[in-house]
C-alpha cells in the first residue's frame, strides 16, 4: 500500500513538474515576443508544440504515455528553450553562450528522446512482423547508427537553416559554433543515445506495445 501511494505521489509531482516546465516555456515565449527575438520565440514555440504531442497521441490514437516519459520529453524541450534566453544572472548572456556544457547536455537529452522513439517504433514493427528481427546486440548497433545518422542530419539542418537565414536576411534560429563543436555534438548525441539504448529500453516497452496495437488494428481494418 505504502509503495503504491509513493508511486502515485511521485506521479503527481512529475505531472506538476511537467506543468511547471510548460509554464516556463510560455514565459520564455513571452520574453521572446517582448524583446522581439526570433530565436527565443521559435525555440519556445517548438518546445511547447512538442510537449503537446503526448496529449495529441492520447486523444487521436489512444496511446497513453506514462507521466515519466512526458516529463522526459518536456525536460529536454524546456532546457533547450531556456538555453536560448539571455539571463540577468549571466550578464544577459544565454546559457548556450555562457556555459560550455549546456549545448552538450541538451544534445545528449534530445538525442536520448530520438533513440527512445526509434526503439519504441522499431520494437513495435519487430513484434508486428516476423520478417523483421534484430537481436539485442544488433539492436544496440542499430540504435547507435540511428542516433549518429540523426545527428549528421541535424547538423545539416542547422547548417542550411543558417545559410537560408543569411540569404533571406532573416535572423537565424539555430546556431553552429564551429568544427570542434560539431564533432562534440555528435559525440554527446551518441552518449545520450547509448545511455538510453543500454538503460532505458525497459521503460519504453509499454508505449511500444501500444504502438504495435495500433499497427495491428490498422492492418485488420484494411
Amino acid at each position: 500500500m505504502s509503495s503504491r501511494t509513493k508511486v502515485l505521489v511521485s506521479g503527481r509531482t512529475q505531472a506538476a513538474l511537467v506543468r511547471l516546465l510548460q509554464l516556463m516555456m510560455v514565459v520564455l515565449l513571452g520574453i521572446g515576443l517582448y524583446v522581439g527575438d526570433a530565436s527565443i520565440m521559435t525555440n519556445a514555440t517548438i518546445g511547447l508544440l512538442v510537449t503537446q504531442l503526448p496529449a495529441v497521441l492520447e486523444r487521436k490514437y489512444e496511446i497513453t504515455m506514462n507521466v515519466g516519459l512526458v516529463l522526459w520529453i518536456t525536460l529536454a524541450m524546456s532546457l533547450h528553450a531556456l538555453g536560448t534566453v539571455p539571463l540577468p544572472g549571466l550578464d544577459f548572456e544565454s546559457l548556450y553562450g555562457a556555459t560550455w556544457w549546456w549545448d552538450h547536455m541538451t544534445h545528449a537529452l534530445s538525442s536520448s528522446l530520438v533513440v527512445g522513439s526509434a526503439y519504441a517504433i522499431t520494437r513495435a514493427f519487430q513484434e508486428h512482423t516476423e520478417h523483421l528481427h534484430m537481436g539485442p546486440k544488433f539492436t544496440l548497433v542499430y540504435l547507435l547508427i540511428f542516433v549518429m545518422a540523426f545527428g549528421v542530419f541535424w547538423e545539416l539542418i542547422e547548417f542550411y537553416v543558417a545559410i537560408g537565414a543569411q540569404v533571406l536576411g532573416i535572423p537565424r534560429v539555430l546556431t553552429q559554433y564551429g568544427l570542434d563543436d560539431t564533432v562534440l555534438d555528435l559525440v554527446y548525441n551518441s552518449i545520450g543515445g547509448l545511455l538510453v539504448a543500454i538503460f532505458g529500453t525497459t521503460y519504453l516497452i509499454g508505449i511500444s506495445d501500444q504502438l504495435r496495437g495500433r499497427l495491428e488494428s490498422g492492418s485488420t481494418d484494411r
Partner: protein, 200 residues
C-alpha cells in the same frame, strides 16, 4: 513489401562471376594486410569487410560458386582507390554510394548467417541510416585521430558540412535505387508465380 528481404537478390551462382569475385577478394585481402602494416585501420576494416561480405554466401552454403555479383563488389571497393574523404564533392558522393552498397551487402550477410531478418523496406531504411552514420563516425574518428595522432582532418565546419551533404545525398540516392530494384524484383516474382506466395 511485407516479406523478408530475399538474400538471393544479391547472390549469383555462376563460375565466371565467382572467379572474378574471388580474384577481387584476394586483392582485397592483400589491401587489408598492407593497410594493417601501414597502420591505416579504416582502410583495413573497409577492405576486410568487403572481402567478407563477398564470400559470406559461399561460406554459408559451402559452395565456392555462390558469391555476390562482382560489379556490386567492385562498387564497394571504390573508396579504397579514391584515396580519401573531402577531396571533391563528387568523389565524396561516389564514396557514399559505395558505402551504401557495402551496407546492403552487410545486411545480406547478416541475414545469411541468421543473425538478423529485415524486410526490403527496412533494409533500405537501414542502409540510408548507415550511410549517414558512417560519415558521422568517420568525422568523430578523424577528429580524434588528428588531435592525438596528427593525421589530417578537414579545416572548417563548412568543409565537414559539404562531406555530410555528399554522404546524405548519396544515402538517399542509393536508397532510391535499391527501392526501385526491389520493387522491380518483386513485380518480376509476382509475374512469374502468378501473384501467389510472394506478398505473404
Amino acid at each position: 513489401m511485407s516479406q523478408q528481404l530475399p538474400e538471393e537478390w544479391f547472390v549469383r551462382d555462376s563460375r565466371i562471376n565467382a572467379a572474378i569475385s574471388w580474384l577481387l577478394v584476394i586483392a582485397l585481402v592483400v589491401v587489408a594486410i598492407t593497410a594493417l602494416f601501414e597502420l591505416l585501420f579504416v582502410r583495413m576494416a573497409l577492405a576486410a569487410l568487403a572481402a567478407f561480405v563477398a564470400i559470406a554466401p559461399a561460406l554459408v552454403s559451402r559452395a565456392w560458386t555462390r558469391t555476390v555479383p562482382w560489379p556490386l563488389l567492385l562498387i564497394c571497393t571504390i573508396p579504397l582507390s579514391v584515396g580519401g574523404i573531402g577531396l571533391s564533392f563528387l568523389a565524396d558522393f561516389v564514396t557514399g554510394l559505395s558505402i551504401a552498397a557495402l551496407g546492403m551487402l552487410v545486411v545480406v550477410s547478416l541475414q545469411l548467417t541468421g543473425r538478423v531478418r529485415m524486410t526490403p523496406n527496412f533494409a533500405v531504411f537501414f542502409v540510408v541510416l548507415a550511410t549517414l552514420a558512417t560519415a558521422g563516425f568517420w568525422a568523430v574518428g578523424s577528429a580524434v585521430s588528428s588531435q592525438y595522432l596528427g593525421t589530417v582532418f578537414v579545416e572548417t565546419n563548412d568543409d565537414l558540412m559539404m562531406i555530410f551533404t555528399a554522404a546524405t545525398l548519396a544515402g538517399f540516392v542509393a536508397g532510391g535505387l535499391f527501392r526501385g530494384y526491389f520493387r522491380h524484383r518483386l513485380r518480376a516474382n509476382l509475374d512469374r508465380i502468378g501473384g501467389e506466395g510472394v506478398s505473404a
